[in-house]
Amino acid sequence: MLQQWKPDPTFYPSPKMAIEAPAEELAYVAAPRDDGKPDAMCVVDLNEASDTYGQIINRLELGVRDEIHHFGWNACSAALCPYAPHPYVERRYLVVPALRGSHIYILDIKSDPKAPELVKTLTADEVEDRSGYTRPHTVHCGPEGIYVSALASAGSEEGPGGIFLMDHYNFNILGQWEVERGTQSLSYDFWWHLGYDIAVTSEWGYPGMIENGVSLEDLGERKFGHKIHIWDIRHRKNIQTLDLGDDYQMILELRPAHDPTKAYGFVNAVLNMNDLSSSIWTWYKDGDDWGIQKIIDIPAQAPENPDDLPPALKDIGMIPPLVTDHILSLDDRFLYVSCWGTGEMLQYDVSDPFNPKHTGTLEIGGITKSHPHPAAGPVSGGPQMVELSRDGKRLYFTNSLYVAWDNQFYPEDANGWMVKADVNPDGGLELDPDFFVGFGDSRAHQIRLQGGDSSSDTFCYS
């Protein structure tokens, strides 16, 4: 592999500089499905000057029932970090784990970014043998290599789940990351504060609790995750566990401040068992320790007609907001919160991470609501995976959570879609009335924007 003479132009030392990046022209969208046809990586044209703007211009088929879910880049701005600088590696490959199939696909976008090529497949056996884990999920490009989290231990489908490392030159799996995991067993997302040598991991459930739809029995017994874990990256050691209390079930997406000098971040708790609300919490450095505090409660709503509720919610009689994703703008100012159940996208000003201000709401879809999109009429599903352009002006989101769960909460119609909202720089957001990408009977999950977005890169300079 011949090296590049200049750093990859999509790498930015600081979030401030990344905000100045040119607008994205393509999105890569994971499209899992449920009907025995293969999952696909779709390419959506985002170049406003193009004839095919707002359309799917390519589908690369992957495996059947793989549940391709979250994915990431082989390299990003973290390659500029000063202790392991290697800025000449290219942002060229998408690392795409199959959350159900446990394969990992490597897609090359260099020769034609509009038509990714599958250049390597790590089979489920390889992933399990080499990493010791199964059900790979989150991918982050780190200074030392590619980090991937996974839900469970290979073979057992029980805990502990954890993180493994991949080489960012040849995609070999280097093995389990943790040296001392302490009591951590459940696993889901992870991210870090590189400026503090601290990683954070969250907790969802083991494969058996989620793969046939959310297990209401396990939920009743409060078996899902309710903690986050703080890790010393240099010693790969769990140094503190923050328990939100088992009233809170499923602690998912971790959004640390992008500015490496800020030692706080936001995480969502999907369900409060007492009142079905969702909540957003702020974790923060507190002297030598870390703390966590609830900053936003989002209540469940009463349906207009309880008969319209899906079977899973009939007995409960309420619509839980099911906050299952959120995204933090690169300037650490706005947090966008997806309420998948109630069909709302909420915007908060989190400049003060302990005193959020609600600055905008947008409605689309929702259980029993099917709030319409101007270009498509009433839609099923609700805001789920959300991504924000680096300049913070364009918000994109899709409606699929996890195939089996879509079927549970939106049994009538779980067809995928992707929409866009325009953001007012001073707060507020509105749907782009013309932008609606239908995925037919396939689902639409995570979005990655070409060149980077607000959850793809980590920065070592403020």
Binding site: M1, W5, P7, M17, L80, Y461
Partner: protein
């Protein structure tokens, strides 16, 4: 040693000093993280120490070899290692992975030692060391212990001069970037010094073969 040698040690110090991967970038990052200039300056000393140790190891190994091996054998061996290492680095982009952002004096010293060693910083000095004829360096060795002391002093001076110019340039770049230019520079001006290094190593290999006093 003559003026050419001293200037060459100094020049190589400059060459190593401007490489972001050798220290100044880390110093700037620590300054930004701590939000104070003294963190930038504080990082420069362990960086220079680690670099000096890495250089000194190579210098003294070569000096010892000069006394044990025929000159031509050593010359060919050094040239082969240098050229081979350059070719390896040209085709295989690899980088040390160690430490993080919360670092103390010892961490930075070891990091700098690792970076200099992994990049062959000391090896690059081989042509200069071999240029000083083995005869001059060791002919009187068994007759006069004083000349051994003289020889060691000379080698230490070489390491010192190199490290001083390394330290000064690294410091100047770090402060200018931290105070004035900012890191936008990285995106535009950080051309692949690693690649240039690999070429420099290959050139050093060839020079080793032919450059005699």
């Amino acid at each position: 040693m003559d003026t050419v040698s001293w200037l060459s040690y100094t020049f190589l110090g400059v060459f190593h000093g401007i490489n972001p991967g050798m220290g100044w970038l880390f110093a700037v990052a620590l300054g930004m993280q701590e939000k104070r200039r003294s963190a930038v300056i504080g990082a420069l000393f362990p960086m220079a120490l680690g670099h000096a140790i890495s250089i000194a190891v190579v210098v003294f190994v070569i000096a010892l070899a000069q006394q044990q091996l025929p000159e031509e054998v050593l010359r060919i061996a050094c040239a082969t290692v240098l050229f081979g290492f350059g070719v390896y680095k040209f085709f295989r982009a690899r980088h040390p992975k160690w430490v993080g952002m919360r670092v103390n004096f010892k961490d930075l010293t070891i990091w700098s030692f690792l970076m200099a060693s992994a990049h062959g910083a000391g090896l690059m000095l081989a042509p200069l060391l071999l240029r000083t004829p083995a005869a001059e360096a060791s002919a009187h060795m068994h007759h006069a212990p004083a000349s051994m002391v003289h020889n060691a002093t000379m080698l230490l001076s070489a390491v010192g001069v190199h490290t001083l110019s390394f330290f000064v340039i690294m410091g100047i770049v770090a402060i200018i970037v931290y105070e004035v230019i900012g890191l936008a520079l990285l995106r535009k001006a950080w051309f692949n010094l690693d690649l240039l290094w690999s070429i420099a190593l290959m050139i050093a290999g060839v020079v080793t073969l032919f450059w005699k006093h």
